[in-house]
Assembly symmetry: C2
Homo-oligomer: 360 residues x 2
């Protein structure tokens, strides 16, 4: 917080109109051609006599000249902008990813167009098209739900795309894939739970039409199987990655007359929070009566009651890498089809207070 409420040094700064100078102004003032000014400023490889360079630089400083990014974008091929598509910035998970994206892009001069789809396919399509119209250099898609149509469109326009947590079962259309390796985190979660003595589990999954939901669920089951617990013994309920969906799934689990599970693993933190809410409503104490584990590690998870044990996603890193790789791709020689990049980031278990040994 080095910020401050600056008042422009007490003296009531008058708003004096700033005339935007163009490269032509600079050229005339410095007595050189626009081409020369351009070369000095945009680090061209053409050699410039030191005297000339200084002369130009002096005028630039004097006039406070800053090149018009729009004009630059038109003549150059690049706009130094990328579009970031998110289904809901309200979800802190995405917010943190975006921070990573921005931090990686800013130093390189990139600005972000933010697009919020609100889970609306048509809106997403609209956004994609406006991004194309604006000639963004690249697009980062952070959806849990992504339309393949967007990817083909983007690919057709030769716009590099980074997709996070993609469906590995279909061939990649994007140029950079950030895969999330849920294995280490989920394995640790299962070991943690089993170690605590749990034997009866339930899972609240994301929408099952999403590959990532199925992957998380299957991995959970596989790891449990390694400890002798059969998939058939695990009750799975489908959620929607939102709090309410998690809560409803929990309702279904508890309403089920069979013996209740002693531990529930939710496919994301929001749903885990929903599960805890429902547990509380039924006077089930977490973690004494029920252990809950989430996935994501959004900040509210650390401040819930009790603080949530969760499989942490490297949120910031995901964003940072997504942007870095995209820019790398962008920097590479334009010619032709670049080989798709693909990297994997690991998850890790964060143990807090929503897990404990089951009651006897």
């Amino acid at each position: 917080m080095k910020d401050r409420e600056g008042r422009g040094s007490e003296l009531k700064q008058a708003i004096r109109p700033i005339k935007m100078s163009t490269i032509t102004d600079v050229a005339e003032e410095a007595g050189v051609s626009r081409a020369t000014v351009s070369r000095v400023l945009s680090g061209s490889d053409a050699p410039i006599r030191p005297a000339t360079r200084e002369k130009v630089l002096a005028v630039v400083a004097k006039l406070g000249f800053r090149p018009n990014a729009v004009a630059r974008s038109l003549s150059g091929k690049r706009t130094f902008t990328v579009g970031v598509l998110v289904s809901d910035i309200g979800n802190p998970f995405y917010a943190e990813v975006i921070k990573g994206v921005e931090d990686a892009g800013l130093p390189e001069g990139y600005n972000l167009f933010l697009g919020n789809t609100n889970f609306d396919l048509d809106r997403g399509t609209t956004l994609i098209h406006s991004l194309i119209d604006r000639r963004v250099d690249g697009v980062i898609i952070l959806f849990s739900r992504t339309s393949q149509e967007w990817l083909t469109t983007l690919a057709g326009h030769n716009i590099p795309v980074t997709v996070v947590d993609r469906d590995p079962s279909i061939p990649p259309l994007e140029s950079v894939s950030i895969n999330v390796d849920f294995r280490p985190g989920i394995r640790a979660a299962v070991e943690h739970l089993v170690g605590l003595g749990h034997r009866r589990f339930a899972h609240v999954s994301g929408p099952l039409d999403l590959q990532t939901s199925r992957r998380r669920r299957d991995m959970f089951m596989e790891e449990l199987a390694a400890h002798g617990i059969k998939p058939g013994q695990i009750q799975c309920e489908e959620g929607d990655f939102h709090i309410e969906g998690g809560r409803e799934a929990a309702r279904r689990i508890f309403d089920n007359n069979k013996t209740w599970p002693t531990a529930i693993f939710a496919a994301n933190d929001l749903m885990a929070l929903g599960v805890m809410g429902e547990a509380r409503a039924r006077d089930l104490r977490v973690p004494q009566d029920l252990s809950v584990i989430g996935l994501d590690d959004i900040w509210p998870a650390a401040h819930s009651t009790p603080p949530l044990t969760t499989v942490a996603m490297p949120r910031y890193k995901i964003g940072f890498q997504a942007m870095s790789r995209l820019m790398k791709q962008l920097k590479e020689a334009k010619p032709g089809r670049k080989t798709p990049q693909e990297i994997s980031l690991a998850t890790q278990l964060v143990i807090r207070e929503s897990t404990a040994p089951p009651r006897r």
Copy 2:
């Protein structure tokens, strides 16, 4: 959720390069001049013979022509972009405001540049300059902390700015102000608390160098005074609008040997959450032992334990109005200095479960 994991109709859609047609292509194909195409497309006031219009439109459809927004921005005066500056998108409050901004802008063809300052003044300055370079049509500043310098710079460049919750004690430099009227919400909160029987209060404020923090605090005290409770009886601790800051302020309040307050009003939800966290750590039950009221009504407030009673800000509306007014300002005849707009949005109390009668 009308979204779906579209696979582009099973047939493995090949990525066929899409050639971007230009207005010249359209003109040639339609046998008219570029000027005519432009007029047809960008709703110029020049009359076009129906036959010509249709001919052009047909070609546009056939070629799938979409005008290059960059070129359009360069020649026209407008870019149809606005910059949104936020100190932290991780805070759901800002996220929801942004949704409002986007929803208002999208139908009018505006896209958003998102800037996250992370409370860093220099970073903010960098962002402001890049936005100017990119010739955004306007800027929306959602800070609690805003540098006046930015505003003068923006004003100097004649870029309309919308400021939310500005400091009314200094003359406006921006063209649109969205004021938040805390009065109704805070009054209702005080009446609620007093009605429950509370007599000993504490307040966790935001950073006191911020006018908005002082305003919230003073209003709380004024309303209490109306019920016969003197400012001197109210313990105030300064926070930082973050969870941890709220928690620390609570620590100070509890560590204070005097009689504890039975109700605490925090200047925002994040700090209220921090207060509840600290209360829990000290085995103080909320609301039995301590009533807590926040301000903002971010979603985690509704899902905390217990759910937080709070003074709700019209978050979405703030964003929507901020953008709407800005666009209105943009639409108005360019000539000269437009009169600054100013609107006020009211707050309102949302009673949940963090408040109850004090123990006897």
